[in-house]
């Protein structure tokens, strides 16, 4: 249930991320671009707001009847010749996948993008049994060659320059050095093609499972998802138990908002619907389909006040919109699920005690809720978890620091002036979301902003705020030294 316990503190990871200029510039470009594309793409959808409302209703309704829909889904998959396995936790999922691999004498595995496999650290489990595992999404492949972790949910290698990638491919797959993205892409295509054709098993994620038909839907742009689910003789699809929609019609609604919110496309290049195993004399495709449904804390979260986070369709829009994410990047969260959604989901699944810092990694500006295609009220749930952390005696460094910064700035005129005159993200957020957003916050947030003196430091960027707070802390100590 760890979701990867951090071996460095959140604090240290933030320090690291803020130092990394390349990451910062790249993140700014990526998040900025995706935000603009998202706005344009939603504008191309007639009645976008009503579609979002419907998407939210679908997710809420499905979760309220999750047991029924899961049973229906499993029955339909089995009827179509697929096999369904439920995994209580990460170990159970890895064990099931390994068992399937053993039964089929699998030696090599190609993988499409799967957050679930990251959550369960499946690659480690497979490699421990001497299986060859290759990530096939180009960005994930680059990250795997580099031995790193993704920095962005949609562009995993966004923190690497083309020169760095060129040097990496030269070293790892022995191609002549080039920094030309076209040549690098062609080289990766050729190398990975051999992997696809040689692999015994393909492992993919799942965007949605359709209860009425037992269909799984996978969206992607590269075609690696299609190859992963078509070329190898066994296909294993990994999905969270919450990723169900009732009908194909509901699926079409979700697909109208998913790509638009994620990459600003109307639809991804490939929208794969896979139903059961190869049949009726079909000549190609895998011989077997296995769908593994992961719980890993989701059923517990369903019974709580933060169940709404299970509506999430993993579009990543809230990451791009989040001023904190834009400053510190995905790595700093230390979890498989970064950004606003991860700040709620990670403690919910992994335990507030272990992840008490994450719900604090937000300025509660509400941008995540504004952009979320299913209108998840992330700020509300961050407050619920903060509350829980405080009750558990886990008041985070961030909050402690925040309050201390305020007391320092307020008593140091020069700092206070700086604090109140710097045009920070708050101002930008006001520009972006219209004046008076503070007033529009619902009651619990209202209370929060009234009872804490946030404005003095919320008007600066998280970065500036963080740097200054470190500075302020030093001043604070110096002051003490001076007085003594």
């Amino acid at each position: 249930m760890s979701l990867h316990s951090p071996n460095v503190t959140f604090h240290e990871r933030v320090e690291g991320a803020l130092r990394d200029e390349i990451l910062h510039t790249a993140l700014d470009r990526a998040t900025g671009r995706f935000q603009n594309l998202r706005v344009t793409a939603l504008a191309s959808l007639p009645d976008a707001e009503r579609v979002r409302d419907r998407a939210r209703l679908i997710r809420a309704h499905t979760l309220a009847h999750l047991d029924t829909y899961l049973e229906q889904f499993a029955a339909k998959v089995e009827q179509a010749g697929g096999q369904v396995h439920f995994a209580r936790d990460a170990n159970a999922l890895n064990e099931i996948v390994l068992e399937i691999a053993r039964q089929h004498k699998v030696q090599s595995v190609v993988k499409g993008k799967s957050m679930i496999s990251e959550e369960t650290e499946l690659n480690h489990a497979l490699q421990a049994e001497n299986l060859r595992v290759v990530e096939t999404d180009l960005g994930e492949y680059i990250i795997q060659l580099a031995g790193e972790t993704p920095s962005h949910i949609i562009v995993p290698a966004v923190h690497k320059t083309k020169e760095q990638i060129g040097a990496l491919l030269h070293e790892k797959i022995s191609i002549p050095y080039t920094a030309d993205p076209a040549q690098m892409t062609a080289a990766a295509r050729a190398t990975l093609r051999r992997e696809f054709l040689n692999a015994d098993m393909g492992i993919s994620g799942v965007n949605f499972g359709v209860a009425e038909t037992g269909t799984i839907c996978l969206v992607e742009n590269e075609g690696n998802g299609r190859l992963t689910t078509t070329a190898p003789r066994v296909h294993v699809a990994l999905m969270g138990i919450e990723r169900i929609v009732p009908t194909l019609d509901d699926l079409s609604v979700m697909l109208q908002v998913l790509a638009r919110s994620a990459t600003g496309q109307k639809i991804t290049v490939y929208t794969n619907l896979l139903t059961g195993a190869r049949r009726n004399g079909e000549g190609d495709g895998p011989n077997e389909l296995h769908i593994v449904l992961l719980d890993n804390g989701r059923s517990r979260v369903l019974g709580t006040e933060v169940a709404e986070i299970l509506y999430c369709i993993r579009c990543g829009a809230c990451l791009n919109a989040c001023p904190v994410y834009r400053e510190i990047g995905g790595h700093a969260y230390g979890s498989v699920y970064p950004g606003p959604v991860g700040a709620v989901l990670t403690p919910a699944l992994g335990g507030v005690a272990q992840w008490s810092d994450l719900p604090q990694a937000s300025s509660l500006c509400g941008a995540c809720r504004e952009v979320c295609p299913v209108r998840i009220d992330i700020p509300r749930m961050l407050l619920v978890e903060r509350d829980e952390a405080v009750r558990a005696g886990k008041m985070a460094w961030w909050l402690r620091l925040g309050l201390r910064v305020y007391s320092v700035t307020a008593t140091h005129p020069a700092l206070f002036r700086l604090a109140t005159t710097t045009a920070g993200w708050g101002t930008r957020a006001l520009g972006a979301f219209g004046k008076g957003w503070l007033k529009r916050l619902p009651p619990p947030l209202n209370g929060w902003t009234q009872s804490r003196d946030f404005p003095a430091f919320a008007k600066k960027s998280f970065r500036a705020q963080y740097r200054e707070s470190r500075h302020a802390e030093l001043i604070h100590l110096d002051d003490n030294a001076f007085r003594e």
Binding site: G139, I267, D284, G285
Partner: protein, 228 residues
């Protein structure tokens, strides 16, 4: 093999007694009608959507025209071996004969059960210069082709080669995905794979620069068969 089905479903039932699920309703309200349009406007919309993505479209008014376009496209693909759907699955009369007359050959796509034989088969198919398919439908609002798998409609034909040439009857254009599902409610029952293809394969994973043809076809050509 282990299966935690009962335990997980049991947990969910307990959780649902206390779940806080804003906006949850017992049933979903009926959906108001989806998009509409006549064949001409749907054709125009389809082309306007797929062209900016890098997909090439052609309108053919007869079998002969369609064959002429096909031969031109395939000439650019450099190679005589094809992965193709069965003749009956492509709505152009005489296409098979024309391809044979121009020395094109088709690779047999049936996968053997045995693991090593399957590997060798895939390596053989990798040689193909182009894939030739029909399409069960087109979605105008996104410029997507709907390809439905069957014994005579192999999945790899639209996937392995660098060039994908598809023939679509314009009478098979739907305004959007929802209207396609409404017309074909059982589409997923008989096919293990339905894929909506929207433009050529692409990635922006290296410094956000657009690259086509990363894993799937680099070139997508859609011949819209206007007389059908």
């Amino acid at each position: 093999m282990r299966d935690d089905r009962a335990a997980v479903l049991g947990q969910i039932r307990i959780a649902l007694q206390t779940a806080h699920l804003p906006a949850a309703r017992a049933t979903l309200p009926l959906r108001v009608g989806t998009g509409q349009g006549d064949t001409v406007s749907l054709t125009e919309r389809f082309r306007a959507e797929v062209e900016p993505l890098g997909g090439m479209t052609y309108v053919a008014r007869s079998d002969e025209q369609a064959i002429e376009i096909a031969l031109k496209v395939l000439a650019s693909a450099q190679g005589k071996e094809l992965l193709a759907w069965a003749d009956d699955e492509i709505p152009v009369r005489g296409l098979g004969a024309a391809l044979a007359a121009h020395a094109y050959t088709r690779l047999d796509l049936a996968m053997p059960e045995d693991a090593d034989a399957r590997r060798n088969k895939l390596l053989e198919l990798e040689r193909a210069a182009a894939g030739v398919t029909g399409a069960q439908a087109g979605l105008a609002d996104t410029g997507s082709l709907a390809l439905v798998s069957a014994a005579t409609r192999p999945r790899l034909a639209s996937l392995l080669p660098a060039t994908h040439l598809a023939f679509l009857k314009t009478s098979m254009l739907f305004p959007d995905m929802a209207s396609f599902f409404r017309a074909h409610p059982d589409v997923t029952r008989d096919a293990s794979n339905v894929v909506f293809v929207t433009g050529p394969s692409r990635t922006a994973d290296i410094e956000l620069t657009l690259q086509r043809g990363v894993h799937g076809p680099k070139f997508l050509h859609v011949v819209l068969c206007d007389w059908l």
